[in-house]
């Protein structure tokens, strides 16, 4: 009789399965991480941290759930932890009134016709930058909600699952997040028109 460790063979299987999933989905995770953090270095760190945690808790992954949906929750938690570790960045409360001049309230975006198929919208780097900066100004929970809804295309139910909150909370955050983004993007464009902001 002898004592043996039977762990080695099954760990290898787990590792192979996880590696396959990671290689398949890491680009999607990175894109979300980029939109959440606003820059490449942080996006890489966040992606890495998310997958480290995912592998650690892989035995809790329910195979019936799409792997990406499981990752969204992990990314969200890792993102919040990442922000907690940093000195508080300047973030605008959604309740603060923005400095909008009434006469400019109806300024239109300088964008191609949005009535056309959204997939054919060609976005300038400048506009992408505006939008990313507006996203960066959103509080984290609102930012994640908007990113998951409008960039990743998740349903309200999927978002609620990823963020561990109620449907009502998803609705509220998404609606207020979008309104905020609209005002921010307009504000940037007005400031730029007045020559106050570098494009």
């Amino acid at each position: 009789m002898e004592w043996t460790t039977e762990a080695t063979a099954s760990w290898q299987d787990t590792r192979e399965e996880f590696e396959k999933l990671m290689r398949r989905h890491h680009r999607t995770v990175y894109n979300i991480a980029y939109r959440l953090t606003g820059n490449r270095d942080d996006a890489e760190d966040l992606t890495q941290e998310a997958f480290i945690r995912a592998f650690r808790f892989f035995d809790r992954y329910n195979r019936e759930m799409p792997f990406e949906n499981w990752m969204y929750r992990i990314v969200n938690n890792a993102f919040i932890d990442m922000l907690r570790r940093r000195p508080k960045a300047q973030m605008i409360s959604l309740d603060q009134p923005l400095n909008l001049q009434d006469s400019d309230k109806d300024v239109q975006f300088e964008i191609p016709d949005t009535a056309s198929n959204p997939e054919t919208i060609v976005m300038s780097e400048e506009l992408e930058d505006y939008i990313q900066r507006a996203l960066d100004a959103l509080p984290p929970d609102f930012r994640t909600t908007v990113v998951l809804a409008d960039i990743q295309g998740l349903s309200y139910e999927e978002i609620a699952e990823a963020m561990h909150c109620s449907l009502g909370t998803v609705r509220s955050r998404l609606h207020r997040g979008r309104r905020f983004l609209r005002q921010r993007i307009e504000a940037y464009q007005q400031a730029r028109a007045r020559g106050e902001v570098d494009p």
């Binding site: 009789m1 762990a7 992606t47 592998f55 919208i121």
Partner: protein, 174 residues
Amino acid sequence: MMNCSKVQNLLSCYIDRELPGEDMLAIQRHLDSCNECQRDYQQLLQVKRLLGAMPVRAPEPFLEERLVQVVFSNSKPASTWRLTIPRPLLRPLAIAATVAGIALGTWYFATQARSPIQQDLTAVAGIANEIDHATIDAYLSGKLRLQNPPVIPAEIPLHPYDNRPSLVSVRYYR
């Protein structure tokens, strides 16, 4: 009835089609006749479309391999230990374990503290716990000799059904 305030609060849900059919229709009707809400709707729709049109940011090529390196070097397999018994030994071992279990159980019962009558009867009749009627009859009729005769009251309660000495009462007499 959908007023402007209510409609404006529901516009995101309307855009995402996350409302029941009748609400969607009611809002649609309102938007058809209200310029202010229609403008609000168009602007919110613009935000959604712009976000959806943002280019997908791709990671640098090195990230994939770095992830593999970092993720798996950070973890270790959980160890579990197991006793491996060679197959030929399995059956004899199982039998030995059962026999040992029975022997242990019997020894345990035999040495447990009991009332004197039980101990004597057990020793004589080899009965672990129950004292059957035959044994009691044998004792009462003098056919069964006990080393330590218990003090049994003159009247042994009779079983309500068959008038035989009650098992329970005899068991607990000292």
